[in-house]
């Protein structure tokens, strides 16, 4: 059952990216380019998602001990704003700005068959793998 729910949520998330056009890098770059003909769509996409998620979280999740079909909630416990968080966000933002693609839209674009997406994902996996080396490296 949990697997079917995950599949359904994946499809729904992908549809959200497609309908909102966030799977289109041009649309994302037009948001990030504040010096040009600015397109605020991405901001509205995020606001709309939060408009659903925030009340849902406080009404349906926070009051419950456990989720409806699983044993427990797996939520991040960390609260400290540390160096890896800030460094990671800067590095991620630089990559996002270069191409206008983040992990979700990359997955959704796979079936388009553009070889650039395959290359993007291959390099993304390489980057994730390298982060393991960095976090193990203690000078």
């Amino acid at each position: 059952m949990q697997l079917l729910i995950a599949l359904f949520c994946g499809v729904l998330f992908g549809l959200g990216l497609l309908v909102s056009q966030m799977a289109n890098p041009d649309k994302v770059l037009s948001f990030l380019d504040i010096s040009g003909h600015w397109d605020p769509s991405l901001l509205l996409v995020m606001a709309s998602a939060l408009f659903v998620y925030i009340p849902g979280y406080f009404l349906l999740v926070k009051r419950r001990e456990k989720p409806l079909v699983a044993e427990g909630f797996s939520l991040p416990q960390k609260q400290q704003i540390d160096k890896p968080l800030l460094l990671g966000a800067v590095v991620f933002g630089a990559g996002w700005g270069l191409a206008g693609i983040c992990p979700g839209p990359a997955m959704v674009n796979l079936s388009g068959g553009d070889v650039k997406i395959f290359a993007f994902i291959a390099f993304m996996l390489a980057g994730m793998w390298c982060s393991g080396l960095i976090s193990r490296w203690k000078p």
């Binding site: 890098p25 996002w96 993007f120 793998w129 390298c130």
Partner: protein
């Protein structure tokens, strides 16, 4: 260059929020795509795990999408940019423990200070990078 599309932004955004909320209410899981990919990559996570099914759903979405919500026909980003972009997105999301979905929707959605900070940081950085890139391009093509 694209035009502001408020209705599709609101509707699509609501679908994103609904999907992430359902995954949390039903399965107790965070819809953080970089984290899902990383866990699958690093641990294999067993062939039958929910993470594989979520990723499969993302890949299949365009096949069930209505005709006016299709994929872009081609990716306009040049090879010189897309490869370093992929690498930095992978590295940064792994170091910073999240991307646009995990921090931007699920994290801010739980009013997490970490996620709010991360989202502002990567958004501002991306805007600066786009600005510098456009300036550089206009110098090179002048």
């Amino acid at each position: 260059m694209t035009e502001f599309t408020p209705y599709s932004a609101i509707f699509g955004g609501a679908l994103l929020g609904l999907s992430a909320l359902l995954l949390l209410v039903l399965n107790g899981r965070i819809a953080g795509i970089s984290g899902i990919i990383r866990t699958v990559l690093m641990t294999g996570d067993g062939g039958g795990s929910w993470r594989w099914f979520f990723l499969l759903g993302l890949v299949l979405a365009p096949l069930v999408a209505p005709y006016h919500a299709e994929l872009p026909e081609s990716i306009h980003v040049s090879w010189y940019l897309i490869l370093p972009a992929g690498f930095l997105v992978g590295l940064g999301s792994a170091l910073g423990a999240g991307c646009t979905s995990g921090h931007g929707i699920c994290g801010i959605g739980r009013l997490s200070g970490r996620s709010l900070t991360a989202t502002f940081t990567f958004m501002a950085t991306a805007m600066v990078v786009v600005y510098l890139l456009r300036q550089l391009m206009s110098v090179l093509t002048a």
